[in-house]
Symmetry: D2
Subunit: 429 residues, 4 copies
């Protein structure tokens, strides 16, 4: 297997921290042992846990006001795959890449080889009918799958089917559909007719889905539409999955909800009704801020994983959610942000595994709210970093991924090869 | 038919405004005629439109910090019915009363007679398992229909069945179930298990529902529970109605949503999927503020009615929503607030009837967002007060309900009969 | 004076509606007369009222996901001035243009002549340190006026001083400073140190302000920064204006607040403390949506003007607020949206002028909340369109600006001259 | 010094955990030592840190819908002091009590003795003009310090002066003023006039303040007023403190803000401008939920303390904030919730003390956003429980306060002496 960063760099970096790590791991092991938890079992689960990297995440993001490019940004999907390889090499937590068509359009066979070179696979395919590709026949200015004009809807359906075809070659097993369709003015769109058209179009896509694939629909409260959005919340998303059939599931992006909404409860409902398809992980303070997972409200991320672990341990039906990061890195090196975000997702998972679920259920049955919530806090407060670091070390990754990455001078090296991209925005206000 | 206020008072009050009203009505009629709308057809629809008064609305409301009683507050359900009679006498818009058990518990036959005396009927029955009645066996402190303990759930189910029984005698045709069940701490409750228990209990209530009744479940984002609520949004509410059966519908309270949520879109979805049961009308700026309908964002109320009229005119299936006010009057005379709120709901209905729907559909199909939204605005901006006042005058009510009410000195009269109630709150913070 | 649209087109369009308008105006005049209001006095105030057009508003807007260009978009600031001339020709409500540097950089003398040709003047100048101009020495990626590096701050200060210089030639009398400075991660920035640096830099700009100019600082809760923003709310904005001096004022953009915030109260506070500089008008449902003024919550816009009229009539000190639209037109013809938005702002002003302020003050003193709020509603519900249309007609504009505009085929004509601009976004997610 | 719980119970409870605690403390000490932090210095700071208990917090709270009393609720202020003594005995973190007048009105000399018996002191006095006390001459239904009627304002001023007088005897050094004044309807109140009246009344109170006292004004976005609130946000609060003088400061309740607001930034601004008076700690998900501190978003609490520690270490001027809990305990034993909440506040303080501030400042200056935020996370993730437990043990408190409390059967004992209080609510909707 090829690596983008020399093994020496990683070894050297690990040499600094390994002794301390082993001591911390042993110490944490004792502490967990006192609580009746076998640390190695947790380690095993963490090692088996992976989260996909979105190909677009390795480029510098921006806002409608501006984009400030970073150094050495990937020029094409092959550069992106190399960046993804770095992330997985150092974290051992991101075995797959999720592509976005048409941004990542390339010969699928070549794509597959490029990823295989680094041992990477492909997660869900993502279609794009929220912007107009060059030379596209019909514009999506007024919608795509829900557009008033059947020709536009047809074009959007065909694009999704093309995504499935590409994904088939790549070994993907899912299609994620997020659209920007909606309206900016009361009255611009008839809600019911638009949703009917959307459902009809989605049925056409669903019909083209291979038997072993899943279809993920993704809801979002607002943006780019600012008065109404066709797939605005989990209620509508559930209706879609229900209408389409058993291969259709809901995808939850943590930043796509109304202020104050209890997201972990939505996760629970979708699990309970067999329709949770997966996640786009990120964090947010105001809206779809696409900040690094766990950077703003790490306890919320833990509470989401508390639901996931509960479902995993209780054997919930149709429960095998996809995990993907979906973030916009405007002021950091995207590779660094993605590495730490993947670790943060792992951390939430590991912490949730520490919850004493038998005690919790007991407190719940006795209405002992205080002890129930303390049971979660006891797990959350435990610093599981030694487990995460050990998982990386065992897998050949870096104890401290950022330190190893910086020591490798990867960014500086690719900056020399990849020309600076243009800064942007500046007119879209 | 008895009236609480002398017909003389109303006539005298109307004498002041009738001439102007007839001129304004004629003038508006001409204007509408230019737009191809027959004013009398709108008048007819408005006259046929009614909204129910909640019995608890005629008392002065309060907050957890304090309640500042008004003068002459109703002492019991019979006083409440008299206040409701005043509201309907002057507005001709509120033909029914909605009772809350146990607050309004009384001999149903006597209740029916009391209401019939004023020509009032009974709207949906409301159960109460969010507070403990005196001498109640089990407490609802930790929930009711979703409580961990089967005995508590059983008690709550039986209370709901009792409400149905009372309503049967009264001629009610629906039961509204709103519960406060939820949690204040992460981990306090297992979301999935609590919802299963809720669904099971609701199925027992549903089983006791007469064939010609409907069951309304009502969602609310938060309060009284401040971390999670069992029936927290329309998504969960839809799941409930779907699980229970065809007599089960969702009730939408305008103040029970997350900040910024597009409520009219939720209304559309529920209509489209045949599950809109009815409304609790009120207005809000921050949360479940229970302010007077249309007092904060009158255009939002219009947009809700835009959906309702669209469904009415297009013959949507299973569409016969119940209309009720649900407000808390802390700083006004409740009778005055309820009269004007009923008028405000009528106003939204009348305005929505003025929308040129053929033109609107055309603009929507052509993606002419600007003209589509202007089509709504043209209807909204038309001052329909002459239609509403004419409907009142035709029905024997007051052109200016507040003026007539104040001229009747009703409040002062009942204040002499009804002793002052205690101010409250002051300790529940 | 030149016009972009032939006077014949306007006359022809007006011929259709003039008779009805005169009848409606007379009818409204009678109605207002009954309420003790002289319609001509209101008309006079409306005719004297103007709102500035932002030069960037005449181009099609977009989001970080995509921009869908319209036909015939302005190629440069001279095209923009022509589009602004159309807006003012038809509405007679937008006598000034507000420029954005560097987007509108051009020979100031030529600019002044171009505007003068249509009788247009210049409103506040707008600086831009939230995006990087081509060939700019230092990047604003990590801030501008609050940047950790003094050289970057210096560059940003100098850019603002350049804006003042340009504005001086143009006859502008104010500089508006909005920056995107902030952070995306807890800890990224030290709040206090960043604000100190910002204040120091603003003092340098203030020092360069001509004696008859005003400096407007503009706050915004979030975006483009998603964890913290240096000038995040009116509290910080007030501190700035207070620190800088008597020529410094706060600018309020209606979309830059936290959810649920009572904006009219902020307006009142700034008036009371002599620091209200002006407005960026628009509407919003979720965040800084930049939707057309009054399109989502027209009553809120009225309530803002209720404060402004109250201050105007009571002779508030230091009260001469600037009015500007600031919107993003993604799905409409920007000229149409700006025309109707200017009218909508006028409408709110005219409606607020109808409030019976003596009665209102009486109800407030007597704690008659119901009649107080009804006093506002009585004014708000009155359809003032005849007054607005008469003001346009008297000024040589169009009774129905959109109809006249469409009849002129202006957009089609400029589309033939102005090449299609590129669609954008598509990578900034 | 008297204690409410036998020292034997505490010792027995501590015997179980002491050995493990000492091992964990040593282990953490080594870990911190590696990071250049002396654990004993942190311990010392934690031991010196205290947070006040609000007297009303030891009773069971409720909502406007219901109050479900707990067992053995305090009957009067003397019972409350005993409960507060338990909290401080076991946590050693709550040396003072904050009283609410008139709820806690009693002979001040007796009160002082009752507290002194347990070594408790008195924190800020709290006035109450948001509810009507029995036999009060004027009602606060329509406001208190901002009321339209001067006699009502005078009564409210005098009540505040009485609170100062009582506090003088008790040894309090501050008065906290929170009012519910505001409006439920647009137009009900003139914002500017109401605020002028408020400021005038506050000046009268300020004039009565002893020289060594501080006056805290507390802002809140909404509730009990649901359209506008006189002291609605920190901007208005700052204006108040500025107008009144140097003894006037702003008090920040963590739950009194608009959705999504960055509270730590407000804290920073108030520190920077010398006007931060203190805190009401609690947590919230939706509004002023008054949940246990740190129970919903513990990282936010840490970020607030990050600002406080930064100010403490940098020697910010006029910086000596008061710390108080202000929570409503509806489903837990209030003593348990208050003990753990005090610990949670200590935890945030201890964690913030671990931040490597020199490294942080360096990363900030270099715009290394990723490492800056990781520097905070490194401190936050460290489990400081051994330090907190050691502080309790050293002070004679309990390693595990809840375990010791439950082992003492205190609640059961007082339940036998204190009759059950009435359940409430049930009519205030």
């Amino acid at each position: 297997m090829d690596t983008m960063i020399s093994g020496d760099v990683v070894e050297k970096s690990n040499a600094v921290g390994e002794k301390t790590l082993r001591a911390d791991y042993a110490s944490l092991g004792e502490q967990l042992d006192r609580r009746g938890i076998a640390i190695d079992a947790i380690l095993g689960k963490v090692e088996a846990f992976g989260v996909a990297i979105p190909s677009w995440g390795v480029g510098t993001g921006g806002t409608r006001f501006a984009r400030f490019p970073g150094q050495g940004e990937p020029r094409d999907v092959f550069d992106k795959i190399e960046d993804c390889a770095v992330i997985n090499q150092l974290t051992r937590a991101t075995p797959t890449v999720s592509l976005h068509i048409p941004w990542d359009r390339a010969d699928p066979v070549r794509l597959k080889q490029a990823a295989a070179r680094f041992g990477l696979g492909f997660d869900a395919m993502n279609s794009n009918t929220f912007s107009d590709a060059r030379d596209q026949k019909h514009s999506y200015k007024f919608g795509s799958l829900s557009h008033a004009d059947a020709a536009v809807r047809r074009q959007a359906v065909e694009h999704n089917i093309e995504c499935i075809e590409i994904g088939r070659t790549l070994g993907s097993k899912a299609l994620t559909v997020w659209i920007g369709d909606g309206s900016n003015f009361p009255g611009q769109v008839n809600f019911a007719r638009a949703f009917e058209r959307y459902l009809d179009a989605m049925k056409d896509i669903y019909a083209a889905l291979p038997g072993d694939w899943r279809l993920f629909s993704e809801h979002k409260m607002y943006e780019p539409a600012f008065y109404s959005t066709v797939v605005q919340d989990w209620g509508t998303n559930y209706l879609i999955a229900k209408e389409l059939g058993e291969k259709a599931y809901c995808l939850v992006d943590l930043g796509h909800h109304a202020p104050n909404v209890n997201i972990e409860m939505i996760v629970s409902r979708l699990i309970q009704f067999g329709k949770l398809g997966g996640f786009h992980f990120n964090d947010s303070k105001y809206g779809d801020d696409d900040l690094d997972a766990g950077s703003i409200d790490p306890y919320r991320l833990f509470l989401v994983f508390n639901e996931l672990v509960d479902a995993e341990l209780s054997g919930a039906k149709d429960f095998h959610p996809a995990h993907m990061l979906d973030q916009s890195h405007n002021v950091t090196d995207p590779i660094e942000s993605l590495m730490l975000s993947a670790v943060e997702v792992q951390r939430a998972y590991a912490s949730a595994l520490l919850v004493d679920r038998k005690a919790l259920a007991g407190f719940q049955d006795e209405n002992d709210a205080l002890m129930a919530t303390q049971t979660l806090k006891a797990a959350y407060r435990t610093d599981v970093e030694p487990i995460l670091a050990m998982a990386r070390l065992n897998g050949g990754g870096a104890i401290n991924p950022v330190a190893a990455y910086r020591a490798s001078f990867y960014r500086q090296k690719v900056a020399a090869e990849r020309p600076a991209s243009a800064s942007g925005g500046g007119g879209i206000v």
